[in-house]
Symmetry: C2
Amino acid sequence: MSSPNAHIVEVGPRDGLQNESVLIGTDAKVAYIEALAAAGLTRIEAVSFVHPRLVPQMADAEQVMARVPRRDGLSYIGLIVNARGLDRALHAGVDEVNVTVVATETFSLRNQGMTIAEALDSFGAVAGRARAAGLRVTATVGASFGCPFEGEVPPGHVAEMVRRCADSGADEIALADTIGAGVPADVRRLTGAVREVTGLPLRFHFHNTRNTGYANALAAVETGATALDASGGGIGGCPFAPAATGNIATEDLCYALRRSGVDTGVDLDLLMSAAAYIGERLGAPLPALLGRAGDFPPATTTARTAPGRPPG
Amino acid sequence: MSSPNAHIVEVGPRDGLQNESVLIGTDAKVAYIEALAAAGLTRIEAVSFVHPRLVPQMADAEQVMARVPRRDGLSYIGLIVNARGLDRALHAGVDEVNVTVVATETFSLRNQGMTIAEALDSFGAVAGRARAAGLRVTATVGASFGCPFEGEVPPGHVAEMVRRCADSGADEIALADTIGAGVPADVRRLTGAVREVTGLPLRFHFHNTRNTGYANALAAVETGATALDASGGGIGGCPFAPAATGNIATEDLCYALRRSGVDTGVDLDLLMSAAAYIGERLGAPLPALLGRAGDFPPATTTARTAPGRPPG
């Protein structure tokens, strides 16, 4: 690995909570975000501005943004899908917007009510207004590694969408494995295709739906990604497979990155506390594993003896 | 990836069940092994021959071996730690033995009642007798990626133990991340150190305790490993962290390998059936994720619509 470097975009408050069925109150959301920021996370996707009927968990986005801690070096992202969302994001005072488009016609129509062409036009209009207002703009291409409706997605097609977003003024490109289908070979292939059309910073959003999310994240860093999405505790499921795992967990990712020589600046103990906080409120075991296994090497030698049981 | 190739060693019946607290009857063990073999797995670590007081789950090892299906191209491995275990393995008619040594003095003494030097001497004696009886011999070095008692384990130390095992007649070297501490960078570093002392086939045994197991497995294949241990359903925990995950799951590993261009010859549907069978008997959700998420691309388009919820 040649001088890898990457930072975390914490998406637990947005993509994590969005996919949890237990509704969390504004107080607890703000406390979760405060705990994540205290752990050293500096980019937090705190809310999405979408219709509250479709995503009830995000109905209090404005109230959350009004109460989160603000300080230099701490940037809040609001996810939006259209111009109405941008109006709300600007009013709520986010630092960045993450604008999603989706890589297949079927998914785009079903999820956003727009064809891909319409979504790309919409992105251009939204990005222009957001930049004019001084916000950083990320273009996220959803289902870049595979679509639940159409199956395989050609990297060249994703790259063409990325080119359009780059031309429209994106500051950062995010490639999302929305259904957790990809493997490291896909990450390398897609990165290669996208690198042919833009030199913009690359961010990746991996789900661990099929247990490939962490391998993909490490592969992305090795191929030059500058940012990785993850959720504290690994909260959030998959809307297309109700029993499945969603986002990769921030603490497990930070563990793997630290051991790979990448310093994310995150305090793992504080992060695990933040995860435990929201886990208690969701009332279900967290998908994150570090909280169950503990850090390694351990601060103290507390391992139990298991005499005679073959290791390995 | 340059022409990767690797096969699976199915360890669910041994390392998986060994670390489960629910005792499984002989009938169900044999049925689980039959289902795994029917799914196309050709090397199965079916039992261990250790003292039944220490590992009650393996008390019926002889009865299991007497009833498993036998055919050309299907090889059964028995795990042993000493000469008494070899006697039992020879009597039970296994095709291979997997002999464990452990990389640190503390773990070796606590787990096997031997110093490392004594364990290496014991390995030499056992390997000689096993080979003379026509069995293939694997030397597994436990805790190669970290020790629950001593912390970090230097790759050069593991390589020196590997050299001793190779000199004593091992046919295959297995490196075990017993506590799931490693990352791909560790896999590459350790492989490099071991490759300086032997050209023997390399097998890896990864636990997913901290969510790095699948990344490690893919990295191992990329660095030339010829075999990977995994358990059907991902059954088996970690004796040093009671709530933690153990072995990587065979179905999730096969999914990742297939998508990476490595054909393992395993039928994923049959494998998921085998995993579901043992999962029902253990009465707990399986750590494997493929069974919850389904294969990709799906055989049919059955995805639910999630209108308006931002993907990613």
